[in-house]
Every structure is written in C-alpha cells, then in structure tokens.
Symmetry: D3
Subunit: 153 residues, 6 copies
Amino acid sequence: MKIAVFPGSFDPFTKGHESIVRRALPLFDQIIIAIGINAEKKYMFPLEKRENWIRATFADLPNVRVENYTGLTVNYCRSVKANYILRGLRNTVDLEFEKGIAQLNKTLATEIETVFMMPTLELSAINSTIIRDIVRNGGDASAFVPSAIDLKN
Amino acid sequence: MKIAVFPGSFDPFTKGHESIVRRALPLFDQIIIAIGINAEKKYMFPLEKRENWIRATFADLPNVRVENYTGLTVNYCRSVKANYILRGLRNTVDLEFEKGIAQLNKTLATEIETVFMMPTLELSAINSTIIRDIVRNGGDASAFVPSAIDLKN
Amino acid sequence: MKIAVFPGSFDPFTKGHESIVRRALPLFDQIIIAIGINAEKKYMFPLEKRENWIRATFADLPNVRVENYTGLTVNYCRSVKANYILRGLRNTVDLEFEKGIAQLNKTLATEIETVFMMPTLELSAINSTIIRDIVRNGGDASAFVPSAIDLKN
Amino acid sequence: MKIAVFPGSFDPFTKGHESIVRRALPLFDQIIIAIGINAEKKYMFPLEKRENWIRATFADLPNVRVENYTGLTVNYCRSVKANYILRGLRNTVDLEFEKGIAQLNKTLATEIETVFMMPTLELSAINSTIIRDIVRNGGDASAFVPSAIDLKN
Amino acid sequence: MKIAVFPGSFDPFTKGHESIVRRALPLFDQIIIAIGINAEKKYMFPLEKRENWIRATFADLPNVRVENYTGLTVNYCRSVKANYILRGLRNTVDLEFEKGIAQLNKTLATEIETVFMMPTLELSAINSTIIRDIVRNGGDASAFVPSAIDLKN
Amino acid sequence: MKIAVFPGSFDPFTKGHESIVRRALPLFDQIIIAIGINAEKKYMFPLEKRENWIRATFADLPNVRVENYTGLTVNYCRSVKANYILRGLRNTVDLEFEKGIAQLNKTLATEIETVFMMPTLELSAINSTIIRDIVRNGGDASAFVPSAIDLKN
C-alpha cells in the first residue's frame, strides 16, 4: 500500500495545495494531509478550522485523510506507515529549503522518499503567507482558496 | 496623469531607495513614497521620523510625495489613482518574493502594473536590515542613508 | 520625449514579449522593438520574417516601431535618442544575466535606465527557446505567439 | 497502469540517474528511460552504447525499459501511454529550466504530470557534463557511473 | 600573523561548521570562532554551553580559539587584529545574504577580506536551524554535531 | 608552502580577476594563474596574448606565476604541488556551477580545498563574456580590464 504524507501548516490551505493533492492522488493509494503543530509558532486560523476546511475540500475523495501531528515528520510518517512525503515546489527559495529538509529526512529515515510537484501556471503565485496578508488587510482572498473554504467564517 | 506608488516600510529609507526614486521619476508625473503600516511588525524608527526623513530627502522635488497607509497596497493605489507600483530589485531572493506579490497584485487589480528597477552597482549591497544591524551595534551607517537623514537624531 | 528600446533576438517574438510591450507602452511616448543582429549566432527564423511578424502584431499601435541593429545596445539607444531600455524578467537565471548587463550598461551610458517588467502568470512559462524546440519537433506552438504570427509560413 | 517516462540524453547515464530511477520505481508499474535524439546536438557517446549501458544497469528490473525517441516529449509519452514524466532536480538553475518545461508540457498535454525527485546527498554533485569533462581530460570517472558502465569501452 | 574570525551564533555548532574550520585552518595562523551575541535574538542553547562545546571540539588544536562578542563583526575583527572573516556557503539563499554582508563589511573596513568555503557533499544538508527543529521535536540529532557535543546535556 | 591555483580561460583577464588575485595573495605563498586549454572551445584572444597580458598585470608581484595547462584541474594542481584552488563567485548561477565542480574536485582529490572570494561591489558586474561582447561590437572595454592590458593590440 502506497501512502504519502503531505505535511504543512496550511494556514490556510490554498488552491495550490488542493491542486497538488488532486494531481498526485493517482500515484498513491492514500494521501494523508498532515497538519504539523509547532508550539512555538502562532497561527492565524485555529487548528480545528484548518482541519475542517481541508476535510470539506476533499469530502468527495475517500483516499484523502486529514490529520495533525507533533514531532518529526519522518516519525509521523513511520507511525502511519507512509513511505512517501509529498511536497509542492514553487521557486528557488523553496528549493533550497526543501532540498535541505529532504536530504536530511533521507538520512533520518532512508526508507522514506520525498516526491515533488510544481504548481500549475495559474496557481503558481498563491501561497498561505500572501493570503494571510490579504485577510489581515481586509482584502478578499476567496479566489485563492478552495471553494469549500470560507475564510470569513 | 501617471502616478506611481513606491511602497515599503523604509525603516530607514536608504540611499538605494533614494536612487530608485530619482532614476524613476522622469517616467512618472508623480511618485508617492508610501510607508505601509503593519500593526504586527515592530519598527526601529518611529513613523513620523521616517516620514520626515523622506520628505527632507526630496524637499527639492515637488512631484515626490510621502504618505503612509494601512491595508492592501493595491487598494491604496486605487485610492490615490496610481496605476503603477515601483519596486527595487536587488537579488534572486528579492525576485522570488516580488514576483509572487506582483503577479498576485495583477490578479487583485488588473489595471495596476509593477515596474522594477535595479540598484546601481555601488548601492547594491545596501538594505534597511543591514543598516538597522549597524545602528543596533553602535556602528556608523551614515554613508548608507541620504544626507538629509541623521540616524542619531 | 520618452523613448524605450526593447532589445532582443525575438526568434520568434512571443506572447510574453507582446504582453510586456503592451503593458509598458503607456509609460513611454514610443517603444522601439529592436532586433539585435549578432553575426556569430544562428537564428531559426530569417530577420525579415521576424520583423514582419512583430510589425503585424503591433499594426494597431503607431507608437511601436520595429527596427534592427548591430553593435552595442547602448550605442543603438543613443542613435535613436532612447533613454530607457525595457526588459522582461522571468526568473532567477534571467535576473543574474540581466543584472550584469543593466549595471554594465549604466557604466557605459549613465543617462540610460533599464526598466523591468515581469510576465503575467499565464505567460510566465513561454520563451523563444522552448517555442523553437516545439517547432523543431513538429509540434504546434501557435498558442505561444501573437495571433498575427504564423510560424508555419 | 502507471507508466512514467524518464527522458534525457544520458550522455552518459550517471549514478545520479540510476538512483532516481530505483527510488521512483515503486511508485510506477513501469519506467521507460527514453533517450531523446536531437539532430542538432552532438553526443560524446553513440546512441547504441548509451542504450546498452542503461539496459545493462537495469538488467535485474523487468519493469524498467530503455527506448529512444525524436519529437516532443509529451507526444512520445502519449505514444507509450505514459501519464507521468519523471525528472531529477539538483539545483536552482535546474529548477528554473524544469519549471518552464513542466508548465509548458502541462499546457500541451494536461493529462501528463511531471514528478520530481532530488538526488541523495552523496550523488548531488554528479552530472553528465562534468563526467564528459573528466573523460575528455583523461580522468577516471568510473566512480560516477553505474558499475555496469565501462566508459572506456 | 594571519588571523581569521569565523563568526556565527552556533546554536548549536554543527559538523558542517567543524569541517569548515578544520579545512580552513592550514590557511591561517589562528582561527577565532566568535559567537555573536544579539540581545534581540533568542537562543536554544545557553552561551556558556555553546562555548564549551566548541572548545571541547577543538581541544586538540591550540590555534583555534573560542570567544564571544557584541557589536559589529568588523569592529570585533579589528579588536583581535584579524584581517579575514571565514564563512561557509551552502546555497543560493546563503549567497545573497553573505554577498550583501561581505560587500558592506568591505565598505566598513577595507582591510578585512571575507573568504568562503563550501561544505563537503555529505555535510551539505546540515544546518543549525534543522538541528534545533530535530531537538525540539524529540529527535536524535547527534549525527549532525561534532562528537564532543552532547545535545542532551 | 601554500600554493593556490587560480584556473580559468581568462578570455580576457578582467579587473575582477585581478582584484581576486591581489586580495587573496596574502593568504598564499604563491598563486599560479593557470589558463586552461580546452581543444573544443574557441577563444577570442590567442593564448600567448592572454598569458602576456596577465604577466604584465602582475609584473610587480614575484609570487604570482602565469601558466597554462590541459587535462583535469586537480591533476594540474598536483603537478605543481598546489593544495588550494582559488575561485571568484559573483552570483547564484556561478554558485551552482562552482559548487558542483568544487564538490566533485573534492571527491577526485581530497587534499585540495577550494577557496572562494566575492568581487568588490564596483567590480561585480564585470565578466569576460560581456567584455568580449563589447569588443565584438566595437565598444571600448578598457575600463574593465587591468591597465596593463590593451585589448586593441
């Protein structure tokens, strides 16, 4: 059974995230969208909301699960018997960060492979930081999140 | 009338910023240097000081205005009838950040174009973060800010 | 009079190039699309064809001119009394190249400024190299060039 | 049936390539290593040699096939009913190149996804260009190619 | 006498840092590993611990000293009569940051040169941020720090 | 005895190259500027001219030697008993290239270290490619090469 973990803080989950999951899904038997909880980070949206939003987004897909975890990502992967980590890759700053993480994860857990996909063109400028910035400034970011997500609620 | 907004926190305004504004000015009828206020950010220099410093720098140029704003940059641009955003571009990390912002702004407001200029060689290592670091450590950063700015006052 | 030169080999001119010119045009009184001729380079499309394609693309815009030149770009700019060079900027590899050229041009001709614009999202993957590759392999690249350009003719 | 095409010129095939194929193989039912033939490029090693070397490298793996092709990669993928393109990603220069290709391929063939993997740490400095340079200069590059490949023969 | 300062926060010191110091040491008469103290930053490991760990790591090398400093790095260099700053360089994000710092330091103190070394392949994914992340999440990071460092003590 | 090789094609040698050599010289007992000869590359300036220009540039410095070599750079280093390779590093494209070479050289010859220096601000836009382009187009590139070099002769 091929299980992939798609880890992130998803604060909030974007159309870019959704697209990666839908496009990668045929490659795996199951994708677990795993919200990492970092006690030192502040989030704009509460965990429960973020989980519910993602669940609503994939309500039609039984092989997409939503969970949260603390601790190392590779340990979490092992606990759910996932052999793959799925990551989106937008630009060169992402690359340097992801490369370091992927290569270190490989050292910590040689049986786990990281697989990358790039956003489609029309989604490539969307990221959670910019969405939070729009929300904070009273703008309308609904065009950048899946339709099941109502950022104002 | 061609109005450009040059947005930033300008904490403090540098010789690099000054050079971009002076070199871009012939392209526009007016450049508004717009200090963005983000309630979640801490600044080293108070807003009033930053505004006065920039005003003193361009005292000779009636078509350079200094203002401050909250909220989305594109909304501010609309409120002052600006069709252009002017940005400096120093390096590849800047590029990835600016590209995301520019492409998203284009989605939020198709009538607004972002125009980029690069620093001249001798100014290309100057940025506000490094100046704050010099000031914090008791160094002399006067060579990196316009002559009208006295960082110690 | 504000004249900008938009230099390139345009082998062929793409929708990305067209978009930059149309979006930048309000900033200038005239944009000269200047096809640089480098005797050591081989081109896929003959100069005359490239010129005619660009002329057809901007037939509706009298303040867009199409010319060709040899020699240094800054010398050409001076010969046509242009104070601006307009360049598109797609990615970090572009940036490093363009930064070197722009800073050196500034040394060779201090009165000439280079102004950059980024492609809109949907055009940001298009470039002449990829189009030539599609053409060479018998693919259909018509979606990536202006409608006035018929690559097969 | 999940089929991936791993396209390249493989001049020569490296340990880095081998590692990507072996690590990606569990994700697919079949990986086709497809040597692209570009009439305008010169290769150091003849096509037949390159094909045989790759075949010898994967002699133990029946679900790895080696083929060659001309024309557009997406057209080749369709002809062999592959829905995935597999690519290695080493660094930021690679990224900008691969991103352009992947996003354009998505435009040409929406049903084909590109999946990226990064080299493991110890293989991340190996590439075919450097190997050809070592060979050309009379050096010993055998440490950088799969053991089934004898560059001197 | 050729003295180099190797500045950083070393929170904690890594095998990557150790490798740079050992490989650069033959170039200098003395390397001073200088822990910069920034009152606005929070550190995971107390200063005394960080100093002792580095001292233990280089107990065998009398020409490696460990110190701490506040204020500008170039001022510290002058105070210890160092004409060189030694820095590791891992990736393109590092480069943009280090280039700005190095070029500005050159402006502040023309007699001080910055010399860069790159990590060896097998150490190139290690950095202090990732180690802190592993520690914070209860993982075992001992493989990434010099053997004289016991992160749990 | 600390000997560094500064390898390149130096077609032509620039003020940027000169600056790196002069700034690095105090670190070494001898720097050998080594012109690599690649039979497959075409050069604008003949080897003899390039050698003479560099010799004239460092006529005042007995511990700078100029030589040429064929074959692998690490083999050449061994033949002249050099333990260091000196390289300039301008930008992120350089970095990716240099990193690959440096890490592979380390694999081929563990006793040889590569040391990098960055250009000073005012020289950071100069490179041989741009100088050749200026020369080819009849421009005056004398400001970018050491005063001992007369490109027209």
